[in-house]
Symmetry: C2
Subunit: 725 residues, 2 copies
């Protein structure tokens, strides 16, 4: 890739971004689009135009709002998780900005005035770009100027430690504040028990759980709810819900058909066979009502049988105080650890019911198998990626697909294509993976959604760093480099050191594309906008359907975080080699922070709250990125035949010690609930019955609250008897 | 080393053993030696000759008693730790016995009938011993007979898994039984708190600890005792004790000097200077009494100042029930983990007071430094060991030390020396280390003796396996092998595979020496016997002094366990190469079990009780030994150019999975107290005041129990005020 195409690509990205921002400004002011651009406000019952009117009407109002919104506002809108994500973005911004403030004015002149790239006549060859002149590549071997680059690595590392330490502390306090509010949250009174042993024949599982915990926590035990196998009930329940939904839809269609000309209207019909394409034609409203009538008694039967006969060996145990629940969930209960394993309860809405009854050995086995699959995926995706980057030079494409010649030979098209083709291939390629990784993480037997997201995000990070960053950097120029790496894994940093400078422009373009086009699309929400309007026009008939069409998801941390982490890794690794990448990195995280804050305040609605448990995860991976950077820099500087490069080695040790210290100091409060926090006073006496009811899955929930007692009694065989242990 | 010297050495060992056993039988029946051979019985107030009279009188009575004593007897005499050590010995015995039952009848004929060692004429060369013919060395390359050896490795591995699983379960139950007795043990009501934050200026540390825990455990908190700096008090206290001891001794000497001839006697005198050698001569009794009078008020002052002014940032917190203490010690208290870290309290008598106030970062730093030192020690002791084994062939010794020629050239002396010299060098060499390792482990900041013993034992294990086993096996023949290992650490198993068969006789002799001579000395207690009789005759004057001369120590697990582990590693590694080693291994652990049981029942007195926390430690190291064995066997069989040797690779994975499964299932109950166990009913209401008093260090202990309240009040500034938080 030569310089013109590189500059073109960045300018094009920027142009696309400006256009998308203008589109956003225009579209977001039209009231009809409020549900697309302000769903979070609407769901929280706020009018996007009232009160803040002026701000929203002005084209840059959203920017002002994003800046003025305080952290409590963010927590109120998107929860602690969103606030922690913003802290992550601003920390990365701060690290790169502090790095840039020193590195740009110091390293650029030092590099620019050296002349390693000059040819023997003392002139720059014409194929050398300004870009390369301002990089480490222009420093001569053994030059004393390399001391400046070594110092720069130290500066970047210490800035990172400093910012990370502050951020960890900040996030830790955020989490503690969120956990010690005086609000009653059901999960803080509950504990998840798995691996319940098989009870004696005259007891149900519910009875044995009851008597076990009542004996061990006589003063604080409230109730227990045994997890039951709800697959069958849930199927019937979903069927009924589907029919209800169909009736509502059909009635809306029917009402619409009653025009002035034909006041009787047309009763909607559908076919009962596969997807409504074959089978008997029936009147939808009548048919569905009949179906519901048939299904309701079945549902009732199934509910009863699920509660009493399909009890699983897992349960939620409720305590009458937060401190008791926190303490109990951290205490080993059984002498054999494969029985009565206890953990903190996840929030009711993020529980993965199917995973709860999995036994401890089952979980271990599944985890091992999943790790193996992920390892194979990470290791062998390298082959297609390498193939893509080898194939997608434009010349090769022309050779292989001659019919493209006409298009490709246009000078403008050629430049653009040359700039984007490999990147687009890569981005498309990466879009396939997250779903697979979430599925795999779920299969491990993890009990909560937020934990699955963390697990998937970790896997995605390894994938993305190994395959995109390391894979592309090494593979783009030589296939054979791969083999070398396999033969000598410790040599990977040497290989990276040789290859990185050559692939700098690729990653520059990559960062710019992600930054401008990615964030432009994110902000303008063009895709959700189009989908929403299409759905509203052609599919939705009832209010509920319209609502379902615009309700936004959550932030999807599982792909967002690893992608940001990839940018961190890239920018850190290039920060000293070609400091010109730093402004792009800074722009990425500055824009990222701004747009994410806007989206958190106005668009996304969190579907659960993990109180920032993502942070330790991000922290570890930032340090991993930093260490990749440090190891690479040792390689790069020693390639310059500069033997003081070993002066950088202590940095790796310092990073490890830093990671360990942070882990020792902060992590326990993320893995467990500190008693200090759980012992804060509550504003009101908790309504224990409501807490209990919160954990009843929707398909089992009785219609009236008074029926909860019946629900509970059905689980037990010894209700009338005294508790036995 | 040739065969005659090998056989000689084993026969000599056996002869020494028989002699020592006879000596033991004779000496242990003399009443004057009761304090040497039955101290444990005496201390428990049992008469060694009463009741069991017949058994003890008969020469083999001790064997019968060792066999008939049940596990509860062992626990009563030596605690759970001793019982666990016996379980370890019997497990090793069982593993090697089961291995031998199959391997000896199967592998010996297979090896003996092959002829890899024959020369080209089809005859055995004269330098080949029967011993080598019956080993893997005699199997031809690529022979199908190797399948038998591969199966043997599988057999040994699965026997090990089976026995270890059963033993872990057994030990786990032993521990649970010991922890759930209805006896009141102070440590089960206490929790150790470290890293107490600096209190506000108007509070003492004691006050801040009190109010913090009273707020978090309002119903179960009993009292807190802050750790104080007792170095100065303890010095004065020890001085007083020393003077008291001197007075008692002097009075005894004085009384003795009052013979019929000189009824006035001679008042003992001593010099006040260095070690009683220089300085003014004084009357001992008067002088010491004066000193005590002077010191007592100082002691009182120091006690007060220690309690109120020298409070350290660590404390013991007492709860009014076992379950509350167990639960609290497992619960995270502070949001920042570098404050208020809690752990289970160690037993009062094994607390290492000086280590308690160490801060968390100090502990981490110390641990890192100690690990580094141990690593250097393990890595560089290899050099002297290699030097020793290279120098100590007799020929070289003759060359270097020509004056030895006269002795060495005697044929009998020559054989014996040739057999023992390297082994003795090694054993002497190893005797230096344990003290250093205990000191290092203590420096880590570990709060209890039993934990120090575990830590030192782990370090010793690594040392012993790396240096004695791997070091000798590789270094004995070639110095240059060392360099190879350093250059290519993964090649160590290949190198081991090449070298092991050649050093078999060395390790045979080593095992036999340890077994017969080691256990002979252990049983006969010749050294303690001689020391005791000398002390009693020439030094001891008072009853207390005599008692101090015979009181036995504890079992010294820190050297005992790693030495046994070394034998396990050696015997396992040779088990399939030369199965003839198995009977020696079986004999080692059978005799070991018998003698250890005898010593536990009659001799050693445990100085603390960790309820078998040593076991997980042993378990992990047995699996490490097993994996060294498995990796070595893969190397050895592939050296025979037998490409099916990879069939053994899954064993390594199985070992890892087995270790992980055991850890998941059993370990938590060793690291923490299960609530199930802590919730058992107590026989009596615990006397909380006695529990509290148990943790007062001897030098601070008030003479009267009523003074405990004064002790407590001195620590607090807010005694009369209401608790503030």
């Amino acid at each position: 890739m030569d310089i013109p195409s590189f500059v073109t690509s960045i300018l094009t990205s920027l142009a696309v971004f400006v256009v998308l921002v203008l589109v956003f400004t225009w579209l977001s002011r039209r009231p009809g689009n409020a549900t697309v651009y302000y769903p979070s406000l609407l769901l929280r019952g706020l009018d996007p135009w009232e009160g803040r009117g002026r701000g929203t009407r002005s084209p840059v109002g959203w920017i002002r709002q994003a800046f003025t919104a305080s952290e409590p506002d963010v927590v109120a809108a998107g929860g602690v998780d969103a606030a922690v994500y913003l802290v992550f973005l601003s920390s990365m911004f701060a690290i790169l900005a502090f790095a840039g403030i020193v590195l740009l004015p110091v390293l650029l002149p030092i590099a620019g005035t050296d002349n390693a790239l000059e040819d023997s006549t003392g002139r720059m060859p014409s194929n050398v770009t300004h870009f390369e002149i301002l990089s480490l590549a222009n420093i001569e071997d053994r030059s004393m100027r390399l001391w400046a680059f070594i110092s720069a690595v130290y500066w970047v590392s210490f800035v990172t430690y400093f910012i990370l330490w502050r951020s960890y502390k900040h996030v830790s306090n955020l989490r503690a504040a969120a956990r010690s509010t005086s609000e009653v949250k059901p999960q803080e009174f509950a504990m998840l028990v798995r691996d319940v042993p098989i009870p004696p024949p005259n007891q149900t599982i519910k009875d044995s759980v009851d008597s076990y915990f009542r004996a061990l926590h006589p003063d604080t035990f409230y109730k227990a709810m045994v997890v039951t196998d709800i697959t069958k009930v849930d199927k019937i329940f979903q069927e009924i819900e589907g029919h209800k939904h169909k009736i509502a839809h059909a009635e809306a269609v029917y009402a619409e058909s009653k025009t002035a000309n034909r006041p009787e209207g047309t009763r909607p019909t559908h076919k009962t066979g596969f997807r409504g394409l074959i089978g008997k034609k029936v009147d939808t409203i009548e048919y569905c009502n009949e179906q519901i009538k048939e299904l309701l008694p079945k549902l009732e039967d199934e509910r009863k049988s699920a509660l009493s006969e399909k009890q699983q060996r897992a349960a939620f145990v409720f305590f009458n105080s937060r401190a008791a629940a926190a303490s109990a969930s951290q205490t080993l209960h059984a002498q054999m650890f494969d029985e009565w394993t206890v953990t903190e309860a996840p929030e009711p809405r993020e529980v993965i019911w199917a995973n709860l009854p999995r036994k401890i050995y089952d979980r271990h086995t599944r985890q091992t198998v999943v790790y193996l699959i992920v390892f194979v995926t990470v290791a062998f995706y390298m082959i297609p990626i390498t193939a893509i980057s080898a194939v997608t030079t434009l010349e090769k494409l022309r050779e292989k697909l001659p019919f493209l010649k006409v298009v490709v030979d246009q000078p403008f098209v050629k430049t653009v294509l040359q700039a984007y083709l490999p990147q687009i291939a890569l981005i498309v390629f990466l879009a396939v993976l997250p779903t697979l990784l979430v599925f795999l993480s779920k299969s491990e037997g993890i009990p909560s959604q937020s934990h699955v997201v963390r697990a998937a995000s970790g896997k995605y990070f390894y994938f993305i760093v190994f395959n995109v960053f390391i894979g592309y950097a090494i593979g783009s120029s030589l296939f054979s480099a791969l083999e070398k790496v396999i033969k000598n894994p410790t040599g990977i940093f040497m290989t990276l050191a040789t290859r990185l400078p050559g692939t700098a422009t690729f990653f520059f373009t990559f960062v710019a594309l992600r930054c401008f086009v990615g964030y432009g699309l994110e902000l303008s929400r063009l895709v959700p906008l189009i989908i929403f309007h299409l759905k509203r026009k052609y599919i939705c008939k009832t209010e509920d359907e319209v609502r379902a069409a615009w309700v936004p998801g959550n932030l999807r941390y599982n792909t967002r975080v690893p992608n940001d982490m990839l940018i961190v890794t890239i920018v850190l690794c290039y920060s000293v080699i070609t400091p010109l990448i730093l402004p792009f990195g800074v722009a990425y995280f500055a824009l990222g922070w701004l747009i994410a804050k806007n989206q958190v305040l106005r668009v996304y609605v969190p579907s659960y709250e993990s109180n920032g448990r993502m942070w330790p995860h991000m922290h570890t991976r930032i340090i991993a990125a930093l260490m990749i950077y440090q190891a690479t820099m040792i390689g790069i500087i020693s390639l310059k035949k500069f033997y003081y490069s070993t002066i950088l080695t202590p940095l790796l040790v310092i990073s490890l010690i830093f990671a360990r210290t942070c882990h020792a100091r902060f992590y326990p409060a993320f893995a467990k609930t500190p008693l200090e926090v759980a012992s804060q006073q509550l504003k009101e006496t908790p309504n224990m019955s409501a807490i209990y009811t919160a954990y009843i899955p929707p398909c089992l929930k009785p219609e009236k609250l008074e029926d909860v007692q019946v629900f509970e009694d059905t689980q037990s065989r010894t209700t009338s008897r005294a508790p036995s242990f």
